[in-house]
Symmetry: C2
Subunit: 372 residues, 2 copies
């Protein structure tokens, strides 16, 4: 048993940055893709929230593993896996792509990086997309190779990230559009940097290839970041919920279709592309989804942690959904949460009741996302 309560073993993989993260006094880990994700450093998630909004942070997000798909049938397989129209995808452009199964259930929501016409990375959330892709390829006899390369993203997030990264990697970094990526020189190698990250405060992700370089890259960023008041960090629950950033396994699972998740613009339903789950998705589109991912503001004082979902009902007790991520926002001075809400009640402003495990029934209302 480690001091952080999570048993360490090879099965729950360390990252190229774990030694650094431990030196910085990480207070706990979660597990994503069979790999450690730091979950807390400083005194509180609230202090961390304010720091992220004002300065710059370095995040070990190596658990965002890459599934590399390459070979003659790679483009065909990738299109088969997502309802998003990839015909205009180009190198240097990251694309958020829902992956769905034959019932239109969500398998994952990765970022797709088109590296070459026949080589792609899916930068994944928490499910074994590699096994899904390999199963499809083996079952259908596709000519592709599918692997997990030795690539471990390191995120630089916060309003001062651009200044810091420009200092290190030059003005080209400023010119990248949101979700764009390009290769830059660092540590004697060429590495991909994307303008992306799991916050709404701006920033970058370095897709470091070569685990042995992890410590050096961390030190490079850290030293240059001192004058920007850099701190170690991790996805911040308050900031994530305020920003409406969903988490696979929390807000949505294989039981949800992409239209419920609000991925309408990434669901192409024209006749000239085929993909797995299209027929099922067309049926949902015809009838309209029965629920939709929504924001919920609610009061009653600071909510307890959302370890189990909080039921959401109408005032007369009708089940409307459940808050799957929720926390107190010190900036908005109320609790904020994310919940699928059924169609009859998803209009912004609809009053709801949130049932927290402390026994309280809390007044709330459906809110637009992101929270302002």
């Amino acid at each position: 048993m480690s001091e952080t309560g999570l048993n360490m073993s090879r099965r729950i993989r360390r990252t190229p940055y774990t030694d650094k993260v431990e030196q910085h006094g990480v207070r706990g880990f979660s597990v994503v893709n069979h790999m450690l994700l730091p979950k807390a450093y400083g005194p509180s998630v609230e202090e961390d929230y304010w720091h992220l909004r004002e300065h710059v942070q370095i995040w070990d997000v190596a658990c965002q593993r890459q599934v590399e798909i390459r070979g003659p049938d790679a483009a065909r397989l990738v299109q088969l896996m997502t309802p998003r129209d990839l015909r205009k995808a180009r190198q240097g452009q990251g694309l958020y792509v829902p992956l769905i199964d034959e019932n239109a259930g969500m398998i994952n929501d990765p970022v797709l990086l088109k590296l070459e016409d026949d080589r792609f990375w899916l930068s994944i959330a928490d499910s074994d997309v590699l096994l899904w892709a390999k199963g499809l390829a083996v079952g259908a006899g596709f000519d592709v190779a599918i692997d997990e390369p030795d690539v471990s993203p390191l995120a630089i997030q916060g309003p001062k990230a651009t200044a810091l990264m420009t200092e290190l990697f030059g003005d080209e970094i400023r010119k990248m559009p949101y979700f764009g990526f390009a290769a830059f020189d660092m540590l004697g190698t060429r590495q991909i940097i994307a303008r992306s990250g799991y916050s709404k405060q701006g920033g970058f992700e370095i897709y470091l290839e070569g685990s042995h370089l992890g410590g050096n890259l961390w030190d490079l960023i850290w030293e240059a970041g001192r004058k920007y008041n850099i701190s170690p960090g991790c996805p911040n629950l308050i900031e994530r919920i305020e920003g409406g950033l969903m988490s696979y396994g929390n807000e949505f699972t294989r039981a949800n279709n992409p239209l419920e998740c609000g991925f309408n613009k990434m669901c192409y339903l024209g006749d000239d592309i085929d993909y797995i789950g299209k027929a099922a998705l067309e049926r949902v589109a015809t009838s309209g989804p029965s629920q939709r991912l929504s924001g919920i503001r609610f009061g009653g004082g600071k909510t307890p942690p959302c370890g189990k979902p909080f039921p959401v009902t109408s005032h007369d007790g009708k089940p409307l959904g459940q808050i799957t991520s929720g926390i107190y926002s010190p900036r908005l001075d109320c609790n904020v949460g994310l919940s699928m809400i059924i169609r009859s009640h998803w209009e912004v402003g609809t009053p709801v009741v949130v049932h927290t495990p402390d026994g309280k029934e809390r007044e709330g209302s459906v809110s637009a996302l992101p929270f302002y």
Copy 2:
């Protein structure tokens, strides 16, 4: 952040027994199949070890999720997924089955339960076998349905398990062979019990269908178990290593083939069955595996925890393997570990050096498995 250091969220699923486990003062969790696995209760893993060897324990192993495969092509798909010859598989018989990919790399090592001729459960270790199976089925156009049913195994382990279970479920329980399973009445339902479990102390696993029954089943076992000195427990690292029980993700991964893991008897190479990875497996069988899972005894005083693998070398510094699970055994009064060891050095008795993170070079030797 929970007191146990692991952030609770919906993504890391609670089990039907988690409330009970928390009431019993669980001291930490691991994560397997996106679900909580208790990792420690009482004062030490050593006390827990002795208790497991002498009495009976109740283990929340709901994380051993079931992948249900049913339908006209179910038997065909299951055979395609494993090199084990399933032609004589019968209902009521659990089968340990390596699952391999097209390169003969290990995907998982579940127990297969044949429920009907066209309905199977794979009771899995830590990888998303459901996505692999679904990918194969969708890719190949098989007529099957693949789901994760609401089934949560509860293990009763230890030498007094048979007496306890006989008291609750009758003499039929004694007649089941090792790995056999049958349906029994409990809590007004019919539930499957198997003579199995992740220890070498004997015992049973109840494949509880219906999460809402979890608390009641726990209480039923607990109350009847009092006179047998029952305690809450979990897979015990000392007992597991002594017993030579491997753990997917620790001792072997997709980089290993089943012959390296010692699964020779489950690798059918005759011409009359085909499965994924057969050609690759035949190549390994022809040349012989280059390494093999082995036991390592080593001294130098109590080893530190094996959070990172320990390198194993010869006395002249040649890399031989790495200990992926290792701990001090109070019964054997030495450290015991599991390691792949290269062919030139895998003979029992071969001297080795184990390099632990405290900087020590520890004398050791290759040992037979299980350890005696």
